[in-house]
């Protein structure tokens, strides 16, 4: 089956449960899961965090199921679905958003991984040599090299590295100096729940791009369930990482770099190195669907992965000096929230479609696009204020989307009723 948005034929459409799950877990979700768990732990008690993560993952499974049901019939990517619900004009925005989100994630993940790896790998070099740049270039070039074959290379990379990632994760878990806290408050935290959903819904809206390669709907649903269960286990296990990672996401040198913790150090190096590369390759594949919409035809095809990989690495190498960490965080949050808003719109649109049994028409597409644009502008503005928000961006976005859709329908009814 062909997706109408594609400039070229869709490859590799017989992916098994194992392959689909490995791509999601090693290439896509491992680092965000780790970061989210640590953020929840900063706001909540240990047992309360576990509770929050369990509930959050259960909600996520339902939402993701809906997203996957949208993609299986015509093997649609995120952008194809966005075109259905936001129209052609809207799809250009989403295409650009996917590329910007990829750039932000590429920079953030490679910077974090390079910083930590430089700290963990002690090589005697001339003091004038910038080890951070060397490590960044190595990660960037390896990612570019591995992303050249698109989904085929990503699948191979993910299925081969996933066992190593898992093994490294288990070793970290066993060797990390962590003591279980005494039984304390295990209440569900709404702020934590919002964090789980906020950090994962952005990824969720990108899932169709990967799940369109599934061999059947059953495989997709089984893979999704496995991904969710494993994500839950990973997220809970990540809470133990609080002992070695500080609130600013830096590795605690005293705990890791001591001679007695050599195994922990090696496991951390393997985990970070493989995760960063898998995440970058998956990011490039995700951005490629956006690239297909906005790039000239001559630059679309197999070489698009190469252009994206090289372009991202080049921008990344030149950008860290020009951009402040604060700006990068805002860019990350803004792009992520835009994707979360997209996910909300897609889910609402899908539910409305199922009820009315009609495909979205031009009016619905315009309303959806307006809702997405409004919610994205407001949440980005809120992030730029740098002030603590009473409502989470997820809630703000959700309210704006709902209000826009409801208002437009009401206005339409009134106009029809009047004329």
């Amino acid at each position: 089956m062909k997706s109408h948005a594609h400039a070229h034929e869709l490859h590799d459409t017989e992916q098994s449960v194992w392959e689909l799950s490995a791509i999601q877990l090693s290439g896509w979700t491992s680092l965000p899961i780790l970061a989210t768990s640590l953020l929840i732990l900063q706001q909540n008690s240990f047992y309360g965090s576990i509770m929050t993560i369990i509930v959050g993952n259960a909600i996520l499974w339902f939402i993701r199921l809906g997203i996957i049901l949208m993609t299986y019939k015509k093997r649609k990517s995120t952008l194809d679905i966005s075109r259905d619900y936001l129209g052609n004009f809207g799809s250009y925005f989403i295409g650009t958003l996917l590329i910007l989100a990829t750039l932000a994630w590429f920079i953030a993940q490679t910077t974090a991984a390079s910083n930590t790896l430089t700290q963990l790998i002690a090589i005697e070099e001339h003091p004038s040599i910038n080890k951070f740049v060397q490590m960044s270039v190595l990660l960037g070039i390896l990612s570019t090299f591995l992303c050249m074959e698109g989904i085929v290379a990503l699948k191979k990379l993910a299925t081969w590295t996933f066992p190593f990632l898992l093994a490294a994760f288990v070793v970290i878990l066993v060797t990390v100096p962590f003591k279980l806290p005494p039984q304390n408050n295990a209440a569900l935290s709404l702020a934590g729940l919002s964090l789980v959903l906020g950090s994962s819904l952005g990824i969720t809206s990108d899932m169709p791009t990967f799940f369109r390669h599934s061999k059947s709907l059953t495989s997709s649903i089984i893979a999704l369930t496995i991904v969710q269960v494993m994500s839950l286990a990973l997220a809970i296990a990540s809470l133990f990482f609080g002992a070695i990672i500080s609130n600013s996401f830096e590795v605690n040198s005293a705990a890791v770099l001591s001679a007695s913790n050599l195994l922990l150090r090696i496991a951390l190096i393997v985990f970070l190195f493989l995760s960063a590369i898998c995440a970058n390759v998956a990011n490039v594949y995700s951005a490629s669907v956006g690239w297909e919409v906005i790039a000239p035809k001559s630059l679309v095809g197999r070489k698009e992965y190469l252009i994206l990989g090289l372009g991202l690495t080049t921008i990344f190498i030149m950008i860290p000096n020009a951009l402040s960490a604060k700006f990068l965080v805002v860019a990350l949050e803004a792009t992520d929230t835009s994707l979360v808003n997209l996910c909300i719109i897609l889910i609402i649109g899908y539910i409305l479609n199922r009820q009315t049994e009609h495909q979205p028409n031009a009016f619905h597409q315009r309303v959806n696009f307006t809702a997405w644009l409004l919610s994205t502008l407001v949440t980005t503005f809120l992030y730029l204020q740098h002030t603590p928000m009473a409502l989470s961006p997820l809630t703000v976005g959700f309210i704006i989307v709902l209000l826009t859709i409801l208002t437009s329908f009401v206005v339409r009814r009134i106009i029809r009723w009047c004329f």
Partner: protein, 409 residues
């Protein structure tokens, strides 16, 4: 699926298009003019460069004419005279050399830009590496376009370089006195020849895209004429003396263009070598991999003394290869009765003998560089002559004996 190879090859290029490629991608070798002028005086430098480039023209004509079948790469020609093993060894050496030059050009260009822009030392350490990596990745990205991209860039870059040289000479306040009379220096001629020899040996790799052999010969002549001009003009150009904003920008653009075209050519030539080991390597992916590899080499290895040692060694090996190739070509024209297998084996042994001698001398500090290379060359030539001498004497004696036996019968 989009057919990537459909628009990738460009096999109908005229002499200007094909001649622009080596001229635009001449790279850092042009500074040889000022170096030789400082060492031997401008008169000797000019004459030596002219003679050296004429020798290169003869070598170029030979390597293009080696195979009657138009369309072979440089490595295909080497295989024809050295066999499969010889082709493989030479591919590895040439590949190493091209990668090394890729990194070397990045290092030199970033240093030149730092010097030109008078950047602060603390800033330079970080920015220089980043800028070098960026240029390396840019070259890798552009290389995806293959020979077509190289041709297009060269056609634009070549006239620009010509204008830059003319402009730089016209505003130059540098004057090097013509020490003594015009004359020749053996070392100066050899330096001029050896600097471009590896590239010239590989000329068939991109001259195969010429419309015909006639266009290839004209392109070679164009290359020699303009290279001579570029090299001699550097005697009067001081790249780092630019003070006005306009001149600094013009020189920075010149260095960037020169680096980009030169490294694109390095990638293209290295990919032809890779093809010997990995068939079907000449693809956008293959080119990009070489560019990425070159950038990694630049990032991690930089130009240190062990790398310089290897660079000098590979230069000697390539020079020996070129000389043996020429002698073997001449021998094949003159002597028709040599069995092909024996011919290839002897060529390979001759080349390897020269490489061993060059390595022995390269290890001795007193003979490093050009002396080691010349010793390797001499050893190769002597070995080749000896083999031919013995072989022909044996062949003549055997033939005479056979004729005698036939007469007696």
């Amino acid at each position: 699926m989009i057919n990537l190879t459909k628009h990738f090859h460009s096999d109908n290029q005229n002499f200007f298009e094909i001649g622009s490629i080596p001229n635009a991608a001449i790279g850092l070798s042009i500074v040889i003019g000022s170096q030789l002028a400082n060492e031997y005086g401008a008169g000797i430098a000019i004459c030596s460069i002219v003679v050296g480039n004429l020798i290169l023209w003869i070598i170029g004509i030979s390597v293009i004419s080696i195979n009657e079948q138009h369309g072979n790469t440089g490595i295909d020609n080497i295989k024809l005279f050295f066999g499969r093993v010889g082709g493989l060894i030479s591919s590895l050496i040439l590949m190493f050399a091209f990668l090394n030059w890729y990194a070397f050009h990045l290092t030199f260009s970033t240093q030149a830009l730092n010097q030109l822009l008078h950047l602060d030392n603390n800033l330079v350490l970080d920015l220089s590496l980043r800028f070098g990596v960026m240029l390396g990745l840019l070259c890798a990205l552009l290389s995806v376009g293959g020979i077509r991209m190289l041709k297009r860039l060269s056609i634009i870059a070549f006239p620009l370089l010509l204008i830059f040289h003319s402009y730089a000479i016209s505003i130059s306040d540098q004057s090097i006195t013509l020490k003594g009379t015009f004359g020749l220096s053996f070392y100066a001629v050899m330096t001029s020849v050896l600097l471009l020899l590896p590239g010239v040996i590989n000329f068939p790799t991109f001259f195969r895209h010429a419309r015909s052999k006639a266009h290839a010969y004209l392109a070679l002549t164009m290359f020699v004429v303009f290279t001579t001009f570029f090299e001699i003009s550097t005697i009067w150009i001081n790249f780092y003396s630019a003070v006005s904003g306009f001149n600094i920008i013009v020189t920075a653009v010149f260095i960037s263009i020169m680096l980009t075209t030169c490294n694109l050519l390095n990638i293209y030539l290295a990919s032809a070598c890779w093809r010997t080991i990995v068939p079907n390597f000449e693809s956008p992916k293959g080119f990009a991999i070489i560019g990425l590899f070159g950038t990694l080499t630049y990032t991690f290895i930089q130009i240190s003394s062990p790398v310089q040692f290897l660079q000098e060694l590979t230069n000697s090996y390539i020079a020996c290869l070129g000389v043996v190739l020429m002698f073997a070509f001449a021998a094949r024209i003159m002597i028709k009765h040599r069995p092909r297998k024996f011919d290839k084996l002897m060529n390979l042994v001759t080349w390897l003998f020269g490489c061993v001698i060059a390595t022995i001398y390269e290890i001795k500090p007193a003979y490093k560089g050009l002396p080691a290379l010349l010793n390797g060359l001499t050893a190769s030539i002597l070995f080749f002559m000896t083999i031919i001498f013995i072989e022909e004497i044996v062949w003549a004696l055997r033939k005479k004996q056979r004729a005698h036996v036939a007469k007696v019968k």
